[in-house]
Subunit: 348 residues, 2 copies
DNA sequence: CCCGACTGTGAACACGCGTTTATGCGCATA
DNA sequence: TATGCGCATAAACGCGTGTTCACAGTCGGG
């Protein structure tokens, strides 16, 4: 490592004191233009960057956000998590913040908890974003009580509100409502659902939205047609396989908690000799990368993930910089995307 | 923020001096067992974490690696980049390192360069990983000359070797050879190629591997069947569309530079009325997430991305910690994955 | 012409920790 | 008993920067 230049040397070279250099860097008002110019020029010339560690030690922020993605399967596999991640990083970057990305396989594991704590206590990140978190409330509450600001995505919050806890969820109820409305508009009245993981916000809220939409249309919910799932493709496959083990009637249309589940379900249906959408319509949720190219191309509900992550990041940084202590809550918009996997019910 | 505890207070509480606390934390040998126990106990009890900024200022490493993913389209879209990212983060994490993730849209842009430089000079990351980098040699060479350690993935290196520059590439030549061998074993003799971006290592090396494999089998390369591409799906689609604008004969088999390109090509072929693999066989490269579920399921060459990222991260950290200055080079293994998109050529 | 207000600047301290140097102590050897 | 040695620990310095405080200089108003 070549010897690093520091602000003292810059000061010498510019013929001013070190305090003045600091004032220039931090945009203080009471420094005359010609002095500022001179200092800036020397900084440019010698490729000087202030040492962040020293700045932090002297009281500045780290301008670093911790991103904690629970369950790596979602990140490394085919998933929307990588989209969320990219948008968060880009949004933060545009505001001068950096993102320390973590992948947490199991939040309850000792080692993982230590890593998370280190990020906050040792590295002193300014705030954290938890995605897909489940069952880690004690940890998050501890962090908040220590004064850290935390944003949570897709988390089912059981109890009380807390300051410095920002909650962002998708407008699942509306989205599911759009899906059911569409199926009904096609003439379907026998509609089933493959649920998602009930430990996250998305699980219960989608189920609730489904129930409300069905009630709105005065449709009966057949308990046999409420199948369990966990947001993974394999769970959709398994749900259908299990259902078909016993000889019973399928609904005419199926809402899947997300597109991955829909893919799995369709695969199982095909293997059993059913055609989609000729024999049964299937609608998904998320508008996954694969959905457009899937056969049949998947009709689904698109969520404005990008916009939401942008809003989340901006809100978090604003809270960091202006010390907002109020709990914020926001949701993302949804839109129906019609493709091929649903069709009008055949009139018998 | 509640008042933070520091090593001085820990020392007081443990009844020792601050230096002793430091010695315990940094595992010095000459501290007797009972003292160590006592200090550790206080540290645990008060949930103390040493301030990283202070540690760095006093000469320690940041234990942070910068990850620079060039071209966000590859990250946020459906791509293997998210797999690489996840593996790097997990590998680094298991060695006590953290990853500062960046997405770089355009390396030649002033703002982007500044962000990269800030990571090294201001935040003092211990090393950097560049993925899919192109045309940024001046920047990387500058960083290396400043003493930073840099690992590069999928970069075509034109000139001289440099110390502290670790180069990791995929064994494309072997992989393409396996693809061509397979096509030939199915009876194909008229084989075309849709190339990738020639600015990255993968482009030229795949082309070269293709040429060598064809020569090995004493097969003619028809220049009409060498189509340009850029590793994106749209380029595969466009390559076929453009080819079919003029009325001419297709090859019996097609090697696509990666699976995305293959998807695009197959889509264009279908639209033109050709069936895969009945009319033309298509083989891809990478074993993309979608390939297994694609229709037809894509025959392709799988690359051990995960293993390579693991090796890369380990090598980089070893270089950081032991000051290795030798240029390393490594490659990842490949394997043929047979699915549905290729079939034996019809004997006329 | 004098004094107060204001402006620009430099000296000094604080941030938390690693590390070097010095010190005190106990023990063994001469 | 005196000397030497090793060991555990304490004291002090340095890392690079932000910020406060005091001071010199300037300007304007009375």
């Amino acid at each position: 490592m070549t010897k690093e230049i520091n602000s003292t040397e810059i000061a010498k070279l510019a013929g001013v004191s070190r305090s003045t250099v600091s004032r220039v860097i931090n945009n203080y008002a009471n420094v005359p233009e010609h002095t500022k110019q001179k200092v800036m020029q020397v900084i440019q010339q010698y490729n000087y960057y202030p040492n962040l560690s020293a700045q932090v030690l002297a009281g500045k922020r780290t301008r670093t956000i911790g991103l904690f993605m629970i369950d790596s399967g979602r990140v490394s596999g085919d998933s929307i998590s990588s989209l969320l991640l990219a948008r968060i990083i880009e949004s933060a970057s545009s505001q001068g913040y950096y993102v320390l990305t973590h992948i947490v396989r199991d939040v309850s594991e000792k080692e993982e908890i230590r890593t998370i704590k280190e990020s906050f206590y040792q590295r002193r990140i300014d705030g954290g974003i938890f995605i897909g978190a489940a069952n880690q409330e004690p940890l998050i509450e501890e962090l908040i009580e220590e004064g850290f600001i935390v944003a949570i995505v897709d988390q089912h919050l059981p109890g009380r509100e807390m300051p410095n806890r920002l909650v962002f969820n998708f407008d699942n109820e509306t989205g599911v409502g759009q899906a059911v409305d569409y199926l009904v508009s096609l003439g379907h009245r026998q509609i089933g659902i493959i649920n998602g993981d009930m430990n996250r916000y998305s699980g219960p809220s989608k189920l609730h939205g489904f129930q409300r939409a069905m009630a709105r249309h005065k449709l009966e919910m057949n308990p046999e047609w409420m199948l369990p799932g966990d947001f993974n493709e394999s769970s959709g496959y398994k749900a259908i396989k299990d259902f078909l083990k016993v000889d019973r009637e399928l609904p005419s249309a199926l809402f899947a908690a997300n597109d991955s589940v829909a893919f799995g379900a369709i695969r199982a249906l095909k293997e059993a000799g059913f055609r989609v959408p000729q024999h049964i319509s299937v609608i998904g949720f998320d508008d996954h990368f694969r959905s457009e190219h899937h056969r049949p191309a998947l009709t689904t509900i698109r969520i404005d993930f990008a916009g939401m992550m942008d809003q989340l990041t901006k809100t978090l940084i604003a809270a960091i910089e202006h010390g907002s202590t109020s709990t914020k809550q926001a949701t993302a918009g949804t839109a129906l995307v019609v493709r091929e996997s649903c069709q009008s019910i055949a009139i018998d």
